[in-house]
Symmetry: D3
C-alpha cells in the first residue's frame, strides 16, 4: 500500500504555508483519508485537475518542463517533498559539498515513503540534478516519484532503477556544474509554479500538476463526476453529435446526461 506521509516540521508552523487536512490513520472500517485521496486521484487525468482548479481561479498549477522520462509511465499521486537549488558558485558547488550535512544525500534520507520529490532546479538546462545512484536510493527508501523542471544525468542508469521520473531532459554534467543545493521542505518554484510541502502532486502523460493542500478535498469531491461526464460526452461525439450544446453542455444536454446517468 502506498502511504503518503505528512510533513510536520517547524517551517510549516511559522507561516501560512501548510494546508489543514482531515484526521488520518483512522484505520478500521473506514478508509484512510490519505489513501482515499491517492486512490481517487489516481483515476483522474491531470487535464481534468487543471480544469477543476481553473474554475476555482487557479490558472498556474502545471509545472512546465515536467515530462515523463519513460513513455507510458502510469499516473502517480503523492504529497510533495520539496528540494531547492540555487545557481552554482564554484567555491560551494563542488564534489566535496556532496558530503555536507545540507546535501542532496541528507534530503533523500529524510524522504517519507510514498512522497513525490519535487526539485526546484530553476530550469537550469546544463546539469543533471540526480544520477542513477541517488535515484536508486530514493527508490529503495520508498519515494514514489521524482519531479523536476531540471534534467537527470546518467539516464541509462536512472531508467534501470525503475524510479518514475518527470523532468525536462537529460544532461551529462553533475549538479554541481550548474547548481548549489541549499535545502529541503521549503516553498519552491518548479516549472514556474509555486509548490509548498504537503501539496498534492499528480503526474501523468501531460506532465505534473500541483493541488494546493487546502483544495485537495474539493478536488477529490469533484473530479470523479467530471471524468464521468467527459466520458459520456465522448460517447456522444462518437455517435456524431456536434459540439455546440454538447461540450460544454446546454440545459437540454444536461437533462439527457442526467437521465443517462440514472439509467446507469
Amino acid at each position: 500500500m502506498a502511504r503518503i506521509a505528512r510533513q510536520d516540521d517547524g517551517e510549516n508552523e511559522e507561516g501560512n504555508f501548510s494546508g489543514t487536512l482531515p484526521a488520518r490513520n483512522s484505520m478500521g472500517a473506514l478508509m484512510d483519508p490519505e489513501r482515499r485521496i491517492v486512490e481517487t486521484l489516481s483515476s483522474v487525468a491531470t487535464a481534468t485537475v487543471t480544469t477543476i482548479l481553473l474554475k476555482k481561479g487557479l490558472r498556474n498549477v502545471w509545472m512546465r518542463g515536467t515530462r515523463p522520462l519513460r513513455t507510458g509511465q502510469q499516473r502517480r499521486v503523492g504529497r510533495a517533498f520539496t528540494l531547492r537549488f540555487v545557481p552554482a558558485r564554484e567555491d560551494l558547488a563542488t564534489p566535496e559539498s556532496w558530503s555536507s550535512p545540507r546535501s542532496t544525500r541528507a534530503a533523500i534520507e529524510s524522504m517519507p515513503e510514498g512522497c513525490i520529490a519535487v526539485v526546484d532546479a530553476m530550469g537550469v538546462a546544463d546539469a543533471g540534478i540526480f544520477g542513477d545512484i541517488l535515484c536508486a536510493r530514493m527508490k529503495q527508501r520508498g519515494a514514489a516519484v521524482l519531479v523536476t523542471d531540471g534534467l537527470l544525468r546518467d539516464v541509462a542508469g536512472v531508467l534501470g532503477t525503475d524510479l518514475p521520473v518527470w523532468c525536462s531532459g537529460v544532461a551529462a554534467p553533475p549538479s554541481v556544474a550548474g547548481l548549489t543545493f541549499v535545502g529541503w521542505q521549503e516553498p519552491i518554484g518548479c516549472g514556474g509554479v509555486a509548490v509548498f510541502p504537503d501539496d498534492i502532486v499528480v503526474a501523468d502523460d501531460d506532465g505534473a500538476v500541483v493541488i494546493p493542500a487546502k483544495l485537495v478535498e474539493e478536488v477529490v469531491a469533484t473530479a470523479p463526476d467530471q471524468e464521468r461526464m467527459e466520458a459520456w460526452i465522448m460517447e456522444e461525439v462518437d455517435k456524431g453529435v456536434p459540439l455546440p450544446g454538447l461540450y460544454p453542455m446546454n440545459a437540454e444536454t444536461k437533462a439527457r446526461y442526467e437521465a443517462a446517468r440514472k439509467k446507469g
Copy 2:
C-alpha cells in the same frame, strides 16, 4: 478518397490573400486537380518542398515547433483551415466562453472534409489548445490533420482518436489558462510562418511546411523530378562517388543522369 475543400468566404475576396487555382471538380476522364495535388505531393518530402520554394526566394515556410505527435506518422497534404488565438484575459478566457458562437467548437463544425487545421497558438507553451473530445469531433468531421505551434492536452486520449497531429508538445491546462480564441479562416502566424486560408500544407517527419496557394502548381510540376533526381544521386553515393560534382550536379553528372533516366 480524400477531398480537399476550398474556402470561398468573404475574407479571401476583399484582400490579396487568396490564390487563384485551376478549375476543379472536372470529374470524368480527367483527374480532379485537387486530388492530383494531394496525390502528387503525398510522395514529396517536406525537405524537397522547402528546397524548391527556396529556389523561388521563399526561405521561411517551415512551421517551427510542428513535430509529429506519434512517431512514424505518414506524410499528409491538404488545404489550410486556420484558427487564431490571442493571449488569455481572465474575463474572456473562461470555461463559459466555450459556448460562445465564436468558439473553437464552432470552428470545428465549419471544417471541410480533408482540410488541415492550422492553429496559431502564438507558441504559448503552458496550455493545451485541444484535448481528446475536440480531436475526436475533428476526426469524425473528416478533418485530415491538426497542425499547431502550441501544445495538445489529454495526450493519451488524443492518441486514442487517431487524428494525426503535428504540435510542439503536451500540457495539462486547458486553452483558457493561456489563450483566448478569436476566430477562424483568417491569416495567421504559425511557428513564425504566415499561413493564409487555402494555402497547401504538407506535413511529415521533418514537420509541417506551407506552400502558398499561388505557387502550388509550380511545386507540383517540379517536385517529382527533384525527388527522382535525388534518388539517383543517392544510388551514386552508394556506389562510392564523391559529393563534389555529384550533388549539386555538374554538367558531366547531369549528362550521366539524363542518360540513365532515358534508359529507364
Copy 3:
C-alpha cells in the same frame, strides 16, 4: 577496427590549439594508443567524464542540444573534425554555394576515417544542416558520428543511412535557409562549448562531451576506476546502505571498498 585520425594541418600549428599526444601507430605487440583511448572510453559514461573533468576545474564540456537521434544509440568515441557555419546571407547562402570549393561537400571529402564530425550551427533552429545524401556519404567515408547543436533534415532518409547522429532536432528547410558554411577544422563553439580539432568527443544517451586533447591521457587513466567505484556503490545502495558516508565515500567506506576490490 576504428581508426581515429589526427589533424595536422596548418591551423593547429600557428596557435595554442592543438594538444600534444603520445606517439601513435606503434603497431606491433603493443596496442595503438589511439585505439586504447577509444576502447577505454567506450566503456565510460559521459556522466563520469564530466565528473572527472569538473574535478580538474572544467565545468563546461557538455554540448547543449546534442541528443541521440535514435533511442538506444551505443556510446561512441572519436577525434573531433570541426565544421563551422555563420548566419545565412541571401547572396551567399544559396543552392549554388553547394558547388563552392569551401562547401560542406568538400569538408565531408576531407573527413578522416573514425572521426566525429562536430558542426557549429550556432543553435540555429530553423534549418537542417545535413540531409540523407550528405549523411550517406559521411557514412561511406568512414566518419564515425555526426554531432551538432543544430538540426538534421530529411530525417527518415538520415535514419536510413545508419550514421549515428547527435543533434537537437529536425527541420525540413535546407541549411542555406538559415546558415552560410565557412570552413572546417577551425576552433568552434558547439552547444555553448569550445571544441578544437583533435579534441576527443564521447557521445551517449546523455549527449556529447568534449575532452580537451591535452587532458585525454589523464581521463583515460582515471575513468575506469571511477566507473568501478560507482558500480560498487550501486551494489551497496541495493543492499540498503544510506547515502551519507557512502557517496561520496568517507574514510571507513573507502577502506571497505579497497578491501572488496582486493578480494575481487
Copy 4:
C-alpha cells in the same frame, strides 16, 4: 480637446468583443463621458490601474515590452485602434505590398482622432514596424499615441515627429524584413495581452496597460480614491510609520485615514 472615437464596424458586431459604454456626446452642461474617462485616468498611474484590475481577477493587462521611447513622456489615455501583423513571407512582405489596399498606410488613414494605435508585432525583434513618415502622418491625423510590442525604425526621425511612442526598441530594417501586415481593428495580442478595439489604453513611465471596455466605468469610479489613499500612506511613511498595519491599512489605520480625509 482630445476626442476618443468609438469603432462601430462589423467586426465588433458579430462577436463578443465590443464593450457597452454609457451614452456619449451629451454635450451641454454635462461633461462628455469619454472626456471624463480620459481626464480622470490621466491622473492615475498604470501601477494603480493594474492593482485595481487585479482585485477584479485580471492579472494580465500590462503589455510586455512597451517602454516609452523618450524619457519623461507624460501619461496618455485613449481608445485602442488595433493593427495586426503576421510573420514575413517573401512573396507578400515586399515594398510593393505598401501600396496594397490592406496596407499600414490604409490603416493609418482610418485612425480616429485621439485613438491609441496598438500594434501586434508578435514581439518580432529584427524589423521596425513604422518609421518617421508613417509616424508623421499619424501625428497629423490626430492619433494620440503609438503602442507596440515591436520596434520602431529611423528613430531619430520618429523622435522628430513628436508622436508619443511606447515600444520595445529600435531596428533599422523595414517591417517587410520580418512582418506581413494583415489588417486593423481586429482582436490582437500585444506584449502577451489580449487587446480588443475600444478597450482603453493607459501608458506612462511603467509601460502601457489595457482596461477592458466593460470595466472602464468601474476603474474610473475607483481609481482616484486609490491614488488619494496611497498619497496619504506615503505621507505617513515619511513621518516614520512602519509598514505593517499601514500598507495595507488595518482597521485602526483606516479610521485614522478616514478622519484625515474628512478634515482635509
Copy 5:
C-alpha cells in the same frame, strides 16, 4: 557613517552558509573592519572585483539583469540582506497577503542599516517587486540599496525616494501578479548567481557583483593594488605603448611599473 550589520540568525548557524569574519566593532584608535571593507571597496570597480575573483576560480559572481535604475548612480557596497519570491499562485499571491507576517513589509522592517537588499524575483519580467511606498520605507530605515533580477513598479515614485536601485527594468503590475513572497535571509539565486546572507555586494555602472563572505578579506587586500596597476597601464596606453607585453605585463613591464611605483 554607513554601518553594515551582520546577520546572526539561526539559518546561518545550521549549515555551511555563513562566512567567518574578523572581529568587529573594535572602535578606538583602529578603524572598524566593516567600515574599512566598505571604504576600500567603494573605490574598486566591479570589473576589477570580477577579475580578482576569477583568478580564485569564481567565474559566476555578476548578477545578470542588475542595471542602475538611474544613470550615474555612484558605486555602493554593503552586506546582502536577501529576500525570496516563488511564482504566483492565485490563492496566495493576493493583495491580502501583503498583511501576512511573512510579507515583504515584515522583511523591510527587519533590514539593518546599511544593508543591500538583494531580491530573488526569478527574473520574472511581468510584475514589479516593489513600488514607491516600499522603497520610501526602505530608505527611511537606512537600507543602502535595492538590487534585484526583477523589475520595479511606479518608477516615477521610486526615483522620487532617492533609494539607489539596480534592477532589470520596470513594469506596472504589482508583485502578486507574478510572484509569491516566501521569506528573507535565506540563500537565494539572483540573476543566475548564488547569494547568501552576509555576502558583500558591490554595485556600480556595470551592475552588481557578489563577494562571498569568506573571500572578502582577500579581495580587500588585493583590489587597491590592482586598481593602481591598471591606472598606470592606462597612462602607458595614452603614451602610445602597444598592448602585448603591457597588458598583461611581461617581466620587463613589471620592472618598469615597480620602478614607477617606488618613485611615485
Copy 6:
C-alpha cells in the same frame, strides 16, 4: 581624413569571401573611392540602407543587439575588421591567455586606421568583451568604431576613451569568464548576421548594418536619391497629403516629385 584599409590576407584569397572593389588611392584631382564611400554613406540612414538591400533580396543585414553605448552618437561608416570568440573553456579562457600571440591584444595591434572592429561574441550576455584599456588602445591606433553583439565592461572607463561603441549592454566580468578568443579577420556571425572582412558597416541610432563588399557601389549609387525622395515625401506629409499614393509613390506622385526635383 578617415582612411579605410582593405584586408588582403590569405583568408580572403582562398574562398569566395572577399568583394572586388574599384581601384583606390588615386590621390590627385580625383577623390579616393574609399573616401567617397565613407562620405556618401555618412549621410545615409541605416534604415535607408536596409530598404535598398531588401530590394536586392537581402533581408538579414542588421546586427541584432547593436545599440549605441552613448545616446546621440553620430553615424559611422567603415570596413569591417572581424574578431571571433568561442565559448569559454576553463583551461583556455584564463587571464594568462591574454598574453597569447592569438589574443585580443594582438588583434588590436593589427587593426588598420578607420576600420570598424566587429566582434562575434555569440551574444554571450554575462561577460564584457573589452574594457577601458583595450578601448583606449583601439582609439589610439585609429580604429573608428567597435561593434559587437556582446557586452562591454568597465563602462565608465570605456565612455572616457571616446571610442564610439555599438553593443548590447554592459557587464562587469572579463571576457574569459564566458569567452575564448580564437582569431581575427575570419568570416563571423554578429547579431545573427554574416560579416566578412572588407564588408562595409554603417552604424547609427538604429544600430549597425552590413553592406556586402560586392554591393557597396550599388548602394552608394542609389542611396542619396532614396534619402532625397524620402525628404520630399516628408514635406508632403507635413502639408497634409494622405499616405496612399504618396508612400510608396504612384505614377502621379512620381511625376509631381520629378517636377519638384527639376525645379530644385
